[in-house]
């Protein structure tokens, strides 16, 4: 029974994806609802899988790369579910679930060697990391919504509509969903970054410390704030805002990869 939650999570997410795909194909509301229910069950099982893994390794989920990936997947699912319920639109579930599944599976199939116990860094640090990962998950969602927007717009302009276009959300709703997820991301990264500074301040008892991660995080914050502002203005609304959102996400990926791995001193965990 060691892998019970692992299996339950995969089954729930997999079934949810299958149902969302079927919903996209048939438009049957009951199938979509079932997809949402299974996503919710997957979230619960995923939570226990995360807990089990952390207990097994005697550490916190974000202590290693794989744990962070799994936590990212969980927060991605949680944010998506929240947005789905808020906007009452579930036809993009089929596009989001594959990302969730990839992050979950990649994290849990990785070798789970015993890690050195995580140093006790306190609740401020825990919130800093969790909120930052939540922000990245929300930005990832806005990236997916923007991609769907551009794809749907291209199909509409090409007049080759196929089967899916009639099931996708209207363009304006996709924009709203993207803006909502960016708002979640902005609030999370704002609070998370502030908590990070509080933690560093306490730790080092100085404020003059510099790390390239600060610059890129500030840049991410500014770029998404710019997006949030521009996407509501008439001249940027539409494909321009979606392209900006996609660009912003590449900056996020840069922050997570190049900056974390090669430039940052304080965020090189993995």
């Amino acid at each position: 029974m060691k892998d019970l939650f692992l299996i339950l999570t995969i089954v729930a997410y997999g079934s949810s994806l299958a149902l969302y795909l079927r919903f996209l194909g048939t438009g049957r509301e009951v199938i979509g609802r079932l997809g949402t229910v299974l996503l919710g069950l997957g979230l619960i099982a995923h939570y226990f899988a995360l807990l089990e893994r952390s207990r097994g390794l005697h550490t916190v989920p974000y202590h290693d790369l794989y744990g962070s990936m799994s936590l990212f997947g969980w927060l991605l699912a949680l944010t998506y579910l929240g947005l789905e319920l808020f906007h009452r639109q579930r036809s993009v579930g089929a596009f989001v679930l594959p990302f969730i599944i990839v992050f979950f599976v990649a994290a849990h199939l990785a070798p789970a060697d015993r890690l050195s116990p995580a140093p006790a860094r306190g609740i401020v640090f825990a919130f800093h990391v969790t909120l930052s990962i939540l922000a990245y998950a929300a930005f990832a969602l806005s990236f997916v919504f923007s991609l769907i927007f551009l794809g749907e717009e291209r199909l509409l302009r090409s007049r080759k509509l196929g089967n899916v276009v009639w099931r996708l959300p209207p363009l304006e709703l996709l924009e709203r969903m993207s803006r909502s997820s960016v708002l979640v991301g902005l609030v999370s990264i704002g609070i998370g970054t502030a908590l990070g500074f509080v933690w560093v301040d306490r730790l080092r008892a100085q404020t003059g410390y510099f790390d390239p991660k600060y610059v890129i995080t500030l840049l991410v914050l500014l770029l998404y704030a710019l997006y949030f502002q521009l996407a509501r203005t008439a001249s940027w609304r539409g494909s321009r805002a979606s392209k900006l959102c996609i660009f912003n996400f590449f900056v996020v990926v840069m922050s997570f990869t190049v900056v974390n791995l090669y430039l940052s001193q304080s965020h090189r965990y993995f």
């Binding site: 438009g27 509409l156 009639w166 304006e172 001249s235």
Partner: protein
């Protein structure tokens, strides 16, 4: 218990014939009453739409025998000579009648494949007939099944989801951009037939505001009054284009009415808010290069016709799935019919055997004088017990038969072997 259907539709009769045999609600009621009073049908339902007039019924005798009477009734009721209707009429019985109705409610028999209106018309015809008591257990079950088929086909297949007219395709495309129309406004250029169709669609989709612009103000006023819109003077582009989300144009004009420069200026004035343009004019009313402008979504008559064509192909691809649902429900209905008949046949057989038992005892009465009344009663009850025992096994076997065809064959065989015509349920 048999079902008969006599009718004509768009495939078998031209509109000149169809319009002569169509029924109003009141006529449908009158026809049902007459059919019952003349003893032609015990249960009746008249389904009359612009594409079909059909009478479904349950006759007291064999359905094949009553069909000619129904045809004569139809021609007599509408005062149309029988020869005129002869080739246009179709007759279906039992399984085929059930299947025909289920295909009708699924939209498979409609002129526009998968159209949604027919289900509402079937529902309405059934509700009305049920209200005035023209239907009975058989037609109630049949039409409830038909409504279920219609609902399932619409929810489980793509047969009815995609727009099939240029006007509805245009409006549905606008919904792909803006979502629901109830917070949107539209400008209609021209007041011809095609504009009316689009206005109808926009109204159906709950458009919040409608501006109508036409060279003839009188015609624009007429359309505005009819559909609850507001007239805008011809050429007041700045006012109109600044506020609306959808523009529908079908004006007779050699030159484009909406030029790129005009739209560019309008887009600047509206801060590049998305604008959906439907150009239904021939020659085109909107300069083609306007489609390149940011946040303009433009479709001309050819684009929309192509989309309708794509949808038609997609709908045709859904026909096998819809037919499967129809077949499933035909099977269910016949199974119900057979089970009902089985109960009737077993009851009739029981009654027949009891009659035989009573006659047998009566004939042997003289040789049973030595028995007391109590003993005779006991003997009769034992014979009844024996009859029940004899009936039990075949009845259970019939009930348990999984294959519908065999079940129906067995019921038929039982009926033919043991029951006279008078006793057949």
């Amino acid at each position: 218990m048999e079902i008969v259907l006599v009718g004509l539709n768009h495939r078998t009769a031209p509109v000149e014939v169809r319009e002569r045999v169509s029924f109003t609600a009141e006529q449908a009621r009158k026809a049902a009453e007459e059919l019952r009073s003349r003893g032609i049908l015990e249960e009746t339902l008249v389904l009359s739409t612009c594409n079909r007039s059909e009478i479904y019924g349950v006759p007291p005798e064999s359905s094949h025998e009553c069909a000619p009477g129904l045809s004569s009734f139809l021609s007599e009721f509408h005062s149309v000579r029988a020869e005129e209707l002869g080739l246009s009429l179709y007759h279906h019985y039992d399984r085929e009648a059930v299947r025909h109705l289920f295909r009708v409610s699924a939209g498979l028999d409609s002129m526009l494949l998968g159209e949604a209106e027919i289900l509402g018309q079937v529902r309405e015809a059934y509700r009305y007939a049920h209200e005035y008591g023209a239907t009975g257990p058989v037609l109630n079950r049949l039409f409830q099944g038909a409504l279920e088929v219609g609902k399932r086909v619409r929810s489980e297949t793509e047969l009815g989801t995609r727009p099939m007219s240029v006007a509805s395709a245009g409006v549905k495309l606008a919904e792909r951009v803006f979502g629901k129309m109830n917070e949107r406004s539209a400008l209609v250029l021209g007041a011809g037939t095609i504009s009316e169709q689009v206005v109808n669609q926009l109204r159906d989709r709950g458009i919040a505001a409608l501006l109508i612009m036409n060279r003839s103000r009188e015609r624009a006023n007429e359309l505005a009054i009819r559909f609850g819109g507001k007239v805008v003077g011809w050429g007041e582009w700045e006012t109109a284009l600044k506020v609306v989300d959808v523009v529908v144009s079908s004006v007779a004009s050699e030159e484009p009415v909406l030029r790129r420069e005009l739209l560019q200026a309008a887009m600047s004035a509206r801060g590049n808010r998305a604008l959906f343009l439907m150009d239904l004019g021939l020659p085109r009313n909107i300069e083609a290069s306007a489609a390149e402008l940011y946040n303009i979504y433009m479709y001309n008559i050819d684009d929309l016709t192509e989309i309708v064509e794509q949808n038609r192909h997609a709908r045709e691809g859904e026909v096998p799935r819809a037919e499967t649902i129809v077949d499933e429900h035909v099977g269910k209905f016949l199974s119900w019919q057979a089970s009902v008949e089985l109960v009737g046949v077993v009851d009739a057989l029981r009654a027949r055997l009891r009659e035989e038992r009573a006659a047998f005892i009566h004939a042997r009465m003289d040789s049973m004088n030595h028995l007391s009344a109590a003993e005779r009663e006991r003997m009769e009850s034992m014979m009844d017990e024996l009859l029940e025992k004899l009936l039990l096994q075949p009845a259970e076997r019939l009930r348990g038969e999984k294959e519908l065809r065999r079940k129906i064959q067995n019921v038929e065989a039982l009926r033919d072997l043991f029951l006279s015509n008078r006793e057949k349920p």
